[in-house]
Symmetry: C2
Subunit: 266 residues, 2 copies
Amino acid sequence: MKKGYKSLITLMGLPSSGKSTIARMLAKELTDKSGILTVVIGTDDIRKIIPSQLEEFDPDIEPIIKKLTLNNVQFCLNNNFIVINDDMNYYKSMRHELKQIAEETQAHFILIHIQISLETALEWNKKRGLPVPQEVIKRVYHRFDPPGDYKWDTPLVTIQSDKRSPEFAIKTILSKLLPIITSPFKPQVTSPPSKPGINEQIDKITRKMVADFAQTNKNPPLLKKISNFRIDYIKNLPNKEILIDELEKDFSQKLQEFVTRVKQAK
Amino acid sequence: MKKGYKSLITLMGLPSSGKSTIARMLAKELTDKSGILTVVIGTDDIRKIIPSQLEEFDPDIEPIIKKLTLNNVQFCLNNNFIVINDDMNYYKSMRHELKQIAEETQAHFILIHIQISLETALEWNKKRGLPVPQEVIKRVYHRFDPPGDYKWDTPLVTIQSDKRSPEFAIKTILSKLLPIITSPFKPQVTSPPSKPGINEQIDKITRKMVADFAQTNKNPPLLKKISNFRIDYIKNLPNKEILIDELEKDFSQKLQEFVTRVKQAK
């Protein structure tokens, strides 16, 4: 009855874009249609095994949850399942990590983009009773590395989940997916390691600079303000492509000005 | 802040005995008290990653879920967490498998028995809206291999969950547990591999005989009746200790009589 080959289907999209609904429906259809067990693995489910994390969110724990998630993806691919990764995957580096696991386990790597407008994501999140803070959705929206720079990073299907029903989405995805998962995996010429996307670079550089500043300035209320300042700074960057070389200088200067303003305001 | 050593805390008990409540509360307390991340891993949570299994239960999938669960236990121990295994572990062989993982990863192995009367388990299950069929609870009750035959298979604590509050249970468990998880692991003289418990042997022998019979008799309604007959047979075995040698002969004879009766009744 096995008519399919192991595959890693990687979803990408905002919180509240309907990823989990699509993931579950797709898993059921694929199990039925291909006869291959399809599992849905995502950090939101893995997080549940750490009770302390549900009561009081600790950002230091998240890398562990990520590691556990990837370990489960790898284990299931090694056991010849079809895996759907139900995560936001907003940075290119996150998608690349999954692509590498697919390559190592000789599985098809398939990217599916669940697209939704920021407004609708916020609205849907509200309707669901705000499982995610609205701020987080906005932040992820602004950090999203658009796909398409590489062949591997180009979605097989992009679903406008705010314009189409989940049933239509599943039909569209299946029609493109089935020909792939029913053909054997052929290793491709390995692509050179990709650079992190522009949003991730900006995030990392400014985050590091704030962390350096925090080393010598133990002042929690000020650091909280700086953390918000950094997020606003990123959101309001006018032209990300040009700025990357200048970024360190520019952010350092603006940060200094901001700190001076805060201190004078006292 | 790390004051503890990696440990595998293995729960055992009936469905609806309160294992999950105790597991979650204990995890939170241990994370707070030892500073070591404590995770709760159980097949019920792992099963959720396979959407088809939730809609239509397929017994052939269960060994995969078991394998995935054990893989997560192992991964978390290798990463120096404290792991609580929240499963029924009614066969000695299930407990032994976990004991071996603990040995391989050089983790403390600690067994905690959550005891409850069959009546209260059935009542609590009913109150929760029957997440588990009552039949399953009865079946697990009759199959339970009692612990205590080996040192490793002897619970550190036995909690009467129908007589004590979860808060009291946690207090009792912690007082015995903390001295162990705060001392380094010492490898013990390896115990000889244990035989499966008596209930598991009976289950396996009769299950195999029914499967052999099914090979040559493709008659689903009859096989369904035989499956129930087998369960009743096990439940009503008068003296399990004596019967094990005679079992194959006895069950074969009773099975033949049963099949004849069913066929005549038509």
